[in-house]
Amino acid sequence: MDYPLDVEYILRKKKSLKKQLLASNDRLQKKIAILGGSTTSEIKNILELFLLNSSIEPVFYESDYNKYFEDALFDNEQLDKFQPDIIYIHSSIVNILNFPKPNDGEDVVNKLLNDEVERYTSIWDALQKYDCAIIQNNFDYPIDRSLGNLDNYDIHGKTFFIMQLNLEFSKNARKITNLYINDINYLSSYIGLEKWVDRSLWYQAKYALSMAAIPELSFNISKIINSILGRAKKCLVLDLDNTCWGGVIGDDGLVGISIGNETAVAEAFETFQKYAKELKDRGVMLAVCSKNDFQNAAEGFQHPETILKFEDFTSFKANWDPKYQNIIDIAQEINIGIDSLVFIDDNPAERDIVSSQIPDVSVPDVGRDVIFFIDHIDKNGYFDPIILSTDDMKRNQYYEDNKKRSSVKSKYATYGDYLKSLEMVAEINSFNSLYLDRITQLTNKTNQFNLTTKRYTYSEIEKISSSNDYIKLYGKLTDKYGDNGLISITIGCLKNGQCFIELWLMSCRVLKRNMEYAMLDELVIQCQQRNITEIIGYYLETEKNKMVAKLYEDFGFIFMEKNDSSSVWKLDIKNYKAKNKFIRTTG
């Protein structure tokens, strides 16, 4: 179910594939409404496979044929009851009501464009009541162009019309925080318009795309859903010899390896390094995992033509230990889940060992030819972001600062001395509009230090932010090595003189820094200001959050009750004493 897709196999074996996928591990249930402008049944079936493959179990609502507009705009009891988590609007070129006519004036053409855009903005507006993510197709190009090449630049051209529409969609998606574009304009050109459309299937069954294109479309939607749910990978782990450069540095030496633009081979490796560098520049972490002497490995990045530098890697493992061991170390060192890693190695034997020993790591079958490595990273959508936040772009800086911090840790007699030396300052305050994006993002991607793993949409966070029934704290932490950014969130719902903590999370990059105590102190203060005397905490166990199983106990909460995988805790705050000793706080 990964790139490159075996489209025929998926379509033919979909029933047995579904059975196999249903047989494995625990899944997250999500309610997905498909509002179609053409037939969607097979899209639903195949999307289900891709989601199951990502451990998401979808429950679907499917609009009647071509009723996407009506379903969105008019009272719809069924959809109201369904309460979708995600709405997917499958519209395409077949849904455009009026294309310009050859004798239309410019004002008429502009009006047609505005009318078309407005139809969709009214849909997105109307759907806001569901507080959920909206995934919207943009438009594919027409396969027939009666104006030929002129279709691309005359104002009466269909192609030109669609380019304008798509531009308007993009502008809207930048403005509307829960609107995500499913770029079928790119997808159809990637697989080829000729393969994208099947006229026969359109006449027979009103599918706006070919059977062969449906798995590609569904795969793309599943990538967006994964990103929305915060499941994008975080770190790209690279082998060195014949992956980052051509040749073997240990044998060929620095002058012998191929990188740069002197030869065709060297240029292919340069392109690969540039792609990795692009990922790094927008917040993906890079790591090295190579069987080499450390000195030799590091020397490779001193090559005059190298794009990647030694400093670009958050973690650098070059030794003779098994690679899976090194990869586990990398994940621990940078404090991320093992399933946040993607491993690229030209050697199939190494790939096999890694994927058999640590199946949670993504190990695409990239082959041996560097030319195709990028496709396997890119087309699998491992690192697809839903938003480029400044925090993402700074993330690598945070981890570099962290390395400095841990290198000085050993110089102090006690851990407390070390914490003192960090000169930490925290800003802990109620949500404000500046940070709502980052807060939403954190609630969706924090898995380890997260007591309830409750996920929020942007509009839910917005609501909580402006409600008096909640205490809603964010925490930012700075120390002498740099700014860690916004790294902790606590949301408590106030009812009958008690505060119920529905979310408590913290980014692992500030683990063991007393930040959780600083947050608790502030929570207690805010509770006391509102005459709240008890705080109730919940721990909902998941596969990933075992590290906080004892957090409430450690905080001094009293154990109340336990069900299968959840427990309830209570803290009486009448005689609470501040716990944080090392962080200066500002409000």
Binding site: E8, L11, R12, K13, K15, S16, K19, S41, E42, S200, L201, Y203, Q204, A205, M211
Partner: protein
């Protein structure tokens, strides 16, 4: 390709689409005999046959494919 070869190829496709490893089809098998054979699966059957045998059915021909026998007759003509 002779009738038997086509028949067994088509049978494999039916088994995959309906996910029944021991499904046996006959010339008279039609959408009444297989519960899951709805219009969606009909399209899936036809596209799988087109891909597997590298043939293309014309729009008008699709309407005539009422049972397995009709499918195989038409395929025989196309594969000659």
């Amino acid at each position: 390709m002779n009738r038997d070869e086509i028949f067994s190829g088509v049978q494999e496709i039916f088994r995959d689409i309906f996910d029944e490893d021991d499904l046996i089809i006959e010339y008279s098998t039609n959408s009444d005999s297989i519960e899951d054979w709805d219009s969606l699966n009909h399209i899936n059957l036809v596209s799988a046959i087109e891909k597997e045998f590298k043939i293309k059915f014309a729009l008008g021909e699709l309407l005539t494919l009422k049972d397995v026998g009709a499918m195989i007759d038409l395929m025989l003509v196309k594969l000659k």
